[in-house]
Amino acid sequence: MTDLTINGKDVSLDVPGDTPLLWALRDNLRLTGTKFGCGVAQCGACTVMVDGMPVRSCITPVEDLEGSDVTTIEALEGPEADAVRKAWVDLDVPQCGYCQSGQIIAAATLLTEIPQPTDEDIDFAMAGNACRCATYVRIRKAIHNAAKILEA
């Protein structure tokens, strides 16, 4: 049994300790916004926030999260997340959309720490989030637009 907080709610996960967080989120808690992509922490589709930091849930065992505070795309909130969502909609960023929950979490984290990122800041921060539809140009533009929304 692992006790932690997920999206603001106290949760006791009755799963084997080596269960990846991603499976616990999707299969046990039905939080299916977080996606399985590569399973080797290379694509970023499974990214969630753990204690305020992005973490790849596909390779994170539940037993490492006792007492942690997990936030998934379903509960990501705050001015940066709101700005990113608006910019994403305005520009129709997603193509298939599969990677977008991880992209949005990474983008919101970037803007929280660097409110006015350069192209280089964006490219490095987002380099761990692969998009098979190659929407990278729109993602970068949307992050710049979200920065303008935050500045206004």
Partner: protein, 207 residues
């Protein structure tokens, strides 16, 4: 999932040499690394110290160690020391970039891949060595001089350098890197003994 890397390394060393604890025989070499005892026949203390460091360099210049001790740029990975994928530049705190810190992917220990063989390497101290401690491209004498220089070794005394080598679990990870990654030569215990002996013999550097 946690285990004692040092105990494991020592057990492996004992198993490989066929020695039992307390046995009289002394192995000259364990897993490709000579033991500290094997240098006792060198009479000159300075020559012994140099020889010990040259042995230590087999570990220090191994991919498991060098990959996190680059001179410029970010971390390397793999036996062929390719740039880290995804690309990570060196940052001021040597801990990755915004939204992709080391801990985004690297946990307290090696974490198995999902659905295939292999693991993401991990340790609680996972991070890039500061640029002043970069080793890639340096000769063994240059690395030796750098290790002894408090301006470049993080202000450590020689004893603290040996402590880092023998007790920092991030160093110990080099002998338990997970399936698909070649461990550093020898054992952590053996490397630690070499470091202690190198300092005890004057911490001489190869010329």
């Amino acid at each position: 999932m946690k285990f004692d890397i040092r105990a494991t390394a020592l057990t492996a060393a004992i198993a490989l040499t066929g020695l039992l604890p307390g046995g009289a025989a002394q192995a000259e070499e364990v897993n490709g690394l000579k033991t500290a005892a094997s240098f006792e026949s060198i009479e000159s203390e300075q020559a012994r110290s140099v020889a010990i460091f040259e042995e230590m360099a087999k570990v220090i210049t191994h991919a498991r160690c060098v990959n996190c001790h680059p001179v410029t740029g970010g971390p390397l990975q793999g036996e062929n020391q390719k740039p880290h994928s995804p690309p990570i530049p060196r940052t001021e705190d040597n801990f990755g970039v915004v939204a992709m810190r080391c801990t985004t992917c690297h946990g307290e220990e090696n974490r198995p891949f999902l659905g295939e063989t292999g693991s993401v390497p991990g340790n609680g101290h996972w991070q890039l060595a500061p640029q002043s401690m970069g080793w890639v491209g340096l000769t063994v004498p240059e690395i030796c001089a750098q290790l002894k220089d408090p301006e470049r070794n993080g202000g450590r005394t020689l004893e603290e350098v040996a402590h880092h080598m023998g007790h920092d679990t991030l160093v110990g990870w080099a002998w338990a890197p997970g399936e698909g990654r070649e461990p550093a030569p020898g054992s952590w215990e053996g490397f630690s003994e070499l470091a202690v002996n190198w300092i005890e013999t004057g911490a001489a550097c190869p010329g």
